[in-house]
């Protein structure tokens, strides 16, 4: 209690006159908590200070003025005269209304593989590390280190971290989690991380060791939010795991917990009082699931939503052109791979692959398909944001019809016909048409066949001469460089088989030194630029929409949404 008063006085004393006035207004109950936070943030008060003062005037109706302050707690009361007013204010929770993609199925960490479920679970559960748009940062693990050759990684868990039911997070939970997700959607990611079954070991209550089959320099990304299935859940959950059992109690360590959930429709979340992180501003989050972007966008325009964390430029012109909407753009490594079968058919000849790559107008694609919210691709999947990207490795490819036509004539394939298989997803069908147009300029006729995602992945993804596949964001390029391009890669649509490439990727993945990895990255970029097993025309940025003046929204290319510090403007 004394500590709380002292901290309160400190903050007030350090505030400007305008801030003091706001604090006094709030404590005198002449300002709602919501307005206090909104105006305080506009006045430039720091978020921890805002959160502390807000909590001082807030009792959430559950605790009264005599509550004692636990260590680490932000405290709930100041002064003895707040009992009645606390109750009066408890009707004024800060609610954030947010639109997510409709979950593709049951919310189950083992099965999650779509943006809607990633968005949703990111509010209620955490991974060991967090792969943000600006790099990796600690989440449930506060530190980590590799052994000398990068085959063993040791993570130390955050002290005092708890699940939303108050039970502590232990190293054994981490072991159970990685065993539990191994058979599901995460299998490929864990394979990329060279983490074998039984490779995760609890050293003590707070220390976990990952023993890998091969050195992996970027292993902390394998246990990060990039591997969205790897949210840490209690051993007890995994012991009684059944498909869909997650929805019975939604365990997790995240900032919010589920109060109400209706499949396909939406959910109501409330603040998790056991959250390990700093202040969580919203008391309540109303999540609405949307099966399509247009409905979500009109809900935002009408004012039924405060936040859209992700929408495609193709569907979101109305928002992008609206001067009253705050658009957040972050660079991601999400991209489309236009693979060409390098072993048989028209594209077995490297010159034809190169010709098509020179025939496409990438800038026009970024401008037209992505409303300029993207960056140019250069036929290798190492994005500018990836560690290991070498900006000087190769020049940017641009439309060059003279070179393209010369290559076609050299290969003697003018007049050839080929089918382009694509899946119906966001702008891919339009991309297919642009490629068709580009090919026509060099005398190649393309017949487009578009299928739904299920049919495409089952029948054409790995068995087509020419195809387009979508690849979601990853914080490091390891997955992109491995499965779709290695000679033994399980997603190798281009049937690319190049021993020199395989060796380079092995070295790239194992390297823990950044400069050395960049050197290897440059060599990979150059090799793929020349061999062109796939055209990567662009990388797609993520667009979010909020009301003017909103602060504190963080999104990732993968779909994670951080709203702990969100203050809705407007």
């Amino acid at each position: 209690m004394g500590d709380t008063n002292k901290r309160f006085d400190e903050i007030r004393d350090e505030s400007t006159d305008a801030e003091k006035a706001l604090i006094d207004e709030y404590m005198a109950r002449r300002l709602s908590r919501r307005d206090f936070i909104r105006r305080g943030s506009m006045a430039g008060m720091s978020l921890p200070a805002l959160g502390f003062i807000a909590a001082c005037g807030d009792g959430d109706g559950a605790e009264d003025a005599t509550t004692t302050t636990e260590p680490g707690d932000t405290g709930t009361t100041v002064g003895e005269d707040t009992t009645t007013t606390t109750e009066a204010m408890s009707d004024d929770p800060i609610t954030v209304r947010i639109g997510f993609g409709a979950p593709a199925g049951v919310v189950d960490p083992v099965l999650i593989n779509d943006e809607g479920r990633i968005q949703f679970i990111s509010l209620i559960a955490d991974t060991l590390t967090f792969s943000s748009a600006t790099g990796l940062r600690p989440a449930l693990a506060e530190s980590w280190e590799p052994n000398d050759d990068g085959t063993q990684w040791t993570f130390t868990l955050r002290e005092g971290a708890m699940y939303n039911d108050g039970t502590p997070v232990t190293a054994d939970d981490v072991v159970a989690t990685f065993e539990g997700i191994a058979g599901g959607n995460a299998a490929s990611a864990l394979g990329t991380g060279a983490l074998p079954p039984g490779g995760t070991v609890a050293v003590d209550e707070r220390t976990v060791q990952f023993n890998l089959d091969a050195p992996v320099g970027a292993f902390p990304y394998i246990v990060s939010s990039d591997n969205y299935n790897a949210v840490i859940l209690p051993r007890s959950y995994w012991d009684s795991y059944a498909e869909g059992s997650y929805e019975s109690s939604f365990p997790g360590t995240g900032p919010f917990m589920v109060e109400d959930f209706t499949p396909g429709q939406g959910a109501v979340l409330v603040r998790n009082e056991n959250y390990w992180g700093p202040t969580v501003v919203p008391d309540r989050v109303e999540v609405t699931f949307f099966a399509d972007d247009s409905a979500m966008i009109s809900a935002f325009q009408e004012g039924r939503l405060d936040v859209i964390p992700s929408f495609s430029a193709a569907n979101g012109q109305a928002l992008l052109n609206d001067p009253n909407v705050q658009i957040g753009v972050i660079e991601t490594s999400e991209h489309r791979q236009v693979h060409m079968n390098t072993q048989e058919g028209l594209f077995a000849d490297k010159r034809v692959r190169q010709a098509l790559a020179f025939a496409v107008n990438r800038q026009a694609m970024v401008d037209g398909l992505l409303a300029s919210n993207g960056s140019l691709g250069n036929d290798h999947p190492i994005a500018t944001l990836h560690p290991g990207y070498d900006p000087d490795a190769v020049e940017q490819k641009a439309e060059d019809l003279d070179t393209a036509n010369a290559l076609i004539d050299e290969a003697g394939v003018r007049g050839a016909e080929v089918t382009l298989n694509a899946l119906a997803f966001e702008e891919i069908e339009l991309l297919a048409q642009l490629i068709q147009g580009a090919a026509a300029q060099i005398g190649i006729t393309i017949d487009i066949q578009v299928d739904d995602a299920g049919t495409y992945y089952e029948n054409y993804w790995l068995d087509s001469t020419l195809g387009i596949t979508n690849y979601g964001h990853r914080g490091v390029a390891n997955v992109f460089l491995g499965a779709p391009l290695r000679s033994d890669g399980t997603w190798n649509s281009a049937k690319f088989n190049n021993p020199e490439y395989d060796a380079l990727v092995d070295a790239f993945v194992a390297e823990t030194d950044e400069a050395a990895q960049r050197e290897l990255g440059g060599q990979i970029q150059a090799l793929l630029w020349d061999e062109v097993p796939m055209i990567i025309p662009y990388f797609i940025s993520n667009n979010s929409a909020t009301r003017m003046g909103t602060t504190g929204l963080e999104t990732t290319g993968m779909g994670h949404v951080v709203i702990t510090e969100l203050i809705v403007g407007g």
Binding site: G244, S298, W491
Partner: protein
């Protein structure tokens, strides 16, 4: 009348059984591996095989069918493979939503279109008749996604009069829920108005020209009585049949409207289930719509019988 009803009921049951066989074979003939669709393209083949074994989708078709039909007869429609929840629970919520929307659309469109049809017939050949007919036809050919977007942009976004999402917040009262359902109901009303009004108009004109009407007029009955007792009673027979056939559409065919207005109804649920190769949910949904359709037809037939003695007498003889 009872025999007539029993015969209709028997036919309905046979239709439903045929429907179950059709849906079962149809969904199993469709390409698509259930485990692969759930786990996605990036999961390993071992995981997919394991999931298929757990779901039982790798068993012989006949075994799966008997399992399924056994469940249906005991009221158990199985568990949705994509949502891992009982199909009855998912369908229950969706059905409640669909019923609300369908009811509202019906309550608006049926009286409105019958009135339109009656007026058009009574004012045959006049500007009023032509206006109603042209408006009805034009409205019918506007696809729901066009009229839906127009009403959202105009009434929800620009004017801000009504919400453009159909789902009212949890705990909303009846009037609040109706407020949320008005805009989604408009495209449905537009599609159905012209159709029902035209049938009503045609029925009315037939009845107006009939001998018994002339006789009634010549008998000196007031015009209002002639219209109500002699004309409308006969004219509405085909209308009832048409309205009944639209019930299935209003429950299961509203995928576009439900997606546009972000509403979790039966149509969208079935569409999702088909995309995800979620057989139990798809089959359960189609079966439920089949039942609704049959019930609607049965109600229509009964009303037909009540209004038109020739039908029930014909059945009894």
């Amino acid at each position: 009348m009872l025999r007539f009803l029993l015969r209709r009921l028997g036919l309905a049951l046979v239709s439903l059984w045929l429907l179950s066989v059709l849906v079962f074979t149809g969904t199993n003939l469709l390409p698509g591996n259930v485990g692969r669709r759930i786990l996605g393209p990036f999961a390993t083949q071992e995981s997919v095989d394991l999931l298929n074994a757990r779901l039982g989708t790798d068993r012989p078709l006949l075994t799966q069918y008997f399992d399924y039909i056994g469940g249906v007869l005991t009221g158990d429609l199985g568990t949705s493979v994509s949502f891992a929840r009982p199909v009855t629970e998912l369908l229950g919520t969706a059905l409640a939503n669909s019923t609300k929307l369908a009811l509202l659309a019906f309550v608006i469109v049926v009286p409105l279109s019958i009135l339109g049809g009656v007026i058009a017939a009574l004012k045959r050949g006049t500007l009023v008749d032509r206006s109603i007919t042209v408006f009805g036809l034009s409205a019918t050919v506007i696809p729901e996604f066009v009229s839906g977007i127009v009403v959202i942009v105009v009434f929800a976004i620009t004017l801000g009069w009504l919400p453009g999402g159909a789902q009212a917040p949890a705990g909303s009262g009846l009037f609040q829920q109706i407020r949320y359902l008005i805009l989604p109901a408009i495209p449905l009303v537009l599609v159905l108005f012209g159709y029902i009004a035209r049938i009503t108009r045609a029925g009315m004109i037939d009845a107006l020209d009939a001998d018994y009407t002339r006789t009634a007029i010549l008998k000196g009955l007031p015009r209002r009585t002639v219209i109500r007792r002699h004309v409308m009673r006969n004219a509405l027979l085909p209308t009832i049949a048409v309205v009944a056939t639209q019930v299935g559409y209003l429950f299961g065919g509203l995928v576009v409207v439900e997606v546009l207005f972000n509403y979790q109804g039966v149509g969208r649920l079935i569409f999702d289930a088909a995309q995800k190769a979620d057989f139990p949910l798809l089959a359960g949904g189609v079966l439920v719509i089949g039942v609704i359709f049959q019930v609607a037809t049965l109600v229509a037939d009964t009303m037909y019988g009540v209004l038109n003695p020739r039908v029930r007498l014909g059945a009894e003889s």
